[in-house]
């Protein structure tokens, strides 16, 4: 039996902005098991970052949580307890959860590091405040962490400042800081978007290695399906503040059910695409400050049904692990088939996989 670490239920978040109320997250369920890697995929404005910020208790001040629960299971003084994180005040979160149990890595390492502090001090800062670790011990651990994240000559690097390091090195430091207090959950918000592809591959492989070594659970937020394919075991596809499809990575890539997921898969050229035109999703994501009636993907969806205009589809289960929010899956739904381009691509992907597995 897998141990559940994090359970988000029916989370809804609204922001008060000058343009009115923006319903950024509209009822999200999310599960994270011990040692597992979950990815949240979506376009900007889909609510993926906001969801994880709510988990960390770092929503900006104009954000309010309308409903929902975030149950987090952790060890407190030797006992296993489950608490609803939404009952915690910001101060309580800072003292007991942030850094110590749930740590976060952000997109741009230059803005998440303090330019006036040596990286050694930035790594030991968390240990010193959370656990009152002795400076010598903390420093020894910091050196070990730097080694873990693949930094050569860690002892002398401790004295460096962020501006003296390259982008990839900085992101490694950020990872070391996140790991300093032995968290159970690591949230990576677009950890490699600001980095070059060659460095992106290295950082992702590094996070995977660390995960294997120390067994933490990881939530990835990304818009890049290539990254998802590389790191995730379980995938949540978000659109307009809701999860529209969830399943194992194989479910999502080889048997996608939601037209939005189809669009996402087709919109990125794989290395074998030779068709004249990419199949793009027409139109733009909806404006979340308007009330959404029916399926928010309706105007961009070739496969939309009349009912989509009026009633938003719930998540309909396809298998034990896989479900999607589209009326196509309901028992009264019409006959449909995957877009031919996508079908061709999936066949090609499976063949390739066979080919490589063979040798």
């Amino acid at each position: 039996m897998k141990e559940k670490v994090l359970e988000v239920r029916d989370l809804a978040i609204t922001f008060n902005t000058s343009a009115g109320k923006v319903k950024a997250v509209r009822g999200v369920d999310l599960d994270l098991y011990k040692g597992e890697t979950v990815a949240i995929v979506g376009e900007s404005g889909s609510g993926k970052s906001v969801t994880t910020k709510a988990i960390m208790g770092i929503l900006s001040n104009n954000g309010t949580i309308d409903s929902g629960e975030i149950h987090y299971t952790f060890e407190k003084e030797g006992e296993e307890v489950t608490e609803n994180l939404l009952n915690f005040s910001k101060k309580q979160m800072r003292k007991t959860i942030n850094g110590k149990h749930i740590a976060m890595i952000f997109q741009d390492p230059m803005t998440s590091l303090d330019p006036t502090m040596s990286i050694g001090n930035q790594i030991i800062e968390g240990m010193r405040t959370h656990y009152k670790t002795k400076k010598k011990i903390a420093q020894a651990k910091a050196i070990k962490l730097l080694e873990l994240v693949g930094i050569t000559d860690p002892k002398s690097r401790m004295k460096n400042y962020p501006h003296q390091l390259s982008g990839g090195m900085r992101q490694r430091i950020v990872i070391a800081i996140a790991l300093a207090c032995d968290p159970d959950v690591l949230i990576c918000d677009e950890p490699t978007t600001a980095l070059d592809v060659t460095i992106q591959a290295k950082i992702l492989e590094l996070i995977q290695d660390i995960q294997k070594k120390i067994g933490i659970s990881v939530i990835y937020i990304t818009h890049d399906l290539g990254v998802v394919a590389k790191v995730a075991e379980y995938v949540n596809v978000m659109y307009a503040g809701k999860i529209v499809e969830k399943g194992t990575v194989d479910d999502i890539f080889y048997e996608p059910k939601h037209p939005y997921t189809w669009g996402l898969l087709l919109a990125m050229p794989d290395l074998e695409t030779n068709t004249e035109k990419l199949v793009s999703i027409p139109g733009n994501p909806p404006n979340m400050s308007h009330d959404i009636v029916g399926d928010p993907f309706y105007p961009r969806n070739k496969y939309a049904l009349h009912i989509d205009k009026e009633i938003e589809p719930p998540l309909i289960a396809v298998s034990e692990t896989h479900s999607a929010a589209t009326w196509l899956l309901s028992e009264h739904g019409p006959e449909y088939s995957l877009p031919t381009e996508l079908q061709a691509r999936i066949t090609r992907m499976k063949e390739e996989a066979k080919h490589y597995a063979a040798g």
């Binding site: 070059d196 669009g263 990125m268 050229p269 794989d270 290395l271 035109k277 990419l278 793009s280 733009n284």
Partner: protein, 320 residues
Amino acid sequence: MQQANEPLLEVKDLKQHFKVSRKFTVKAVDGVSFKIYPGETYGLVGESGSGKSTIGRSVIRLHELTDGEVLFKGKDISKKMNKDTERVLRTNMQMIFQDPMASLNPRKNVLDSVAQGLDIHGLYKNQAERNERVLEILERVGLSKEFAGRYPSQFSGGQRQRIGIARALIMNPDLIIADEAISALDVSIQAQIVNLMKEIQEETNVAYLFIAHDLSMVRYISDRIGVLHLGHMIETGTTEEIFSKPLHPYTKSLLSAIPHPNPIIEQKRTALSYDYATSGLDYSEGSLHNVGGTHEVLGTDEEVNNWLNKYSMKEVIGVR
């Protein structure tokens, strides 16, 4: 591709150095040559700091060149230009930037923003003709006429990039330099913009210098590709040549770093790594060697022979 034609743009041994202090000069681009033919797309790829954006900016003369020669439509545009040449350059070569929010004037409405090129060069007889041409272009890039009076802040990222394309297109250019033109956009919008750029190319036979770091998109849109690293062109050839037979270790590492959207393969492989400092290569020692077709790779005779002899594509795909 129309290889037989005269090249539209010819860059010869371009050098762009930036003096940082009395003792220290950054050699952002150090002797790069390439040609672009009418109606084709040339992709420049490389990591940040490889000089790809600098090349784009030097070609359109946003920088004063340190050394080298740039010929555009047979005219030298690398030195001081006479009025005629400058006019040819400023009307026939256009640029699309990465961040459409930063490249549009927030206080100008779309109509005036798009018409700016026409205004500067006085390319219309009367106001009615000017506005008509703008509306025509807006329609072409998929924006409705009602948008003409709006301001950049009222648009989404993808729409803003369409405005950026409209601004370039209204001059009826022969060459558009697209500097990371789609990097800031969402995946689903990227595909829309790339499709739009391809359609426009088919209609108007415009050539693109497509600068990007996303190799899968570059592969998709480009006819030929140049791979840059540390200011040197290390490998160039048709898209097919580069992707089916990458020779230079840097190109290999770049290709192997692209994550495939295929989890069964992707979760089993590690990307190749490449580090210039420990690779034992010296880019300034080597020269471009032709290895068949238009495929060229930078290295000494010995290095190139070595790469050719030990070549294996399996390595690039890199199954663990």
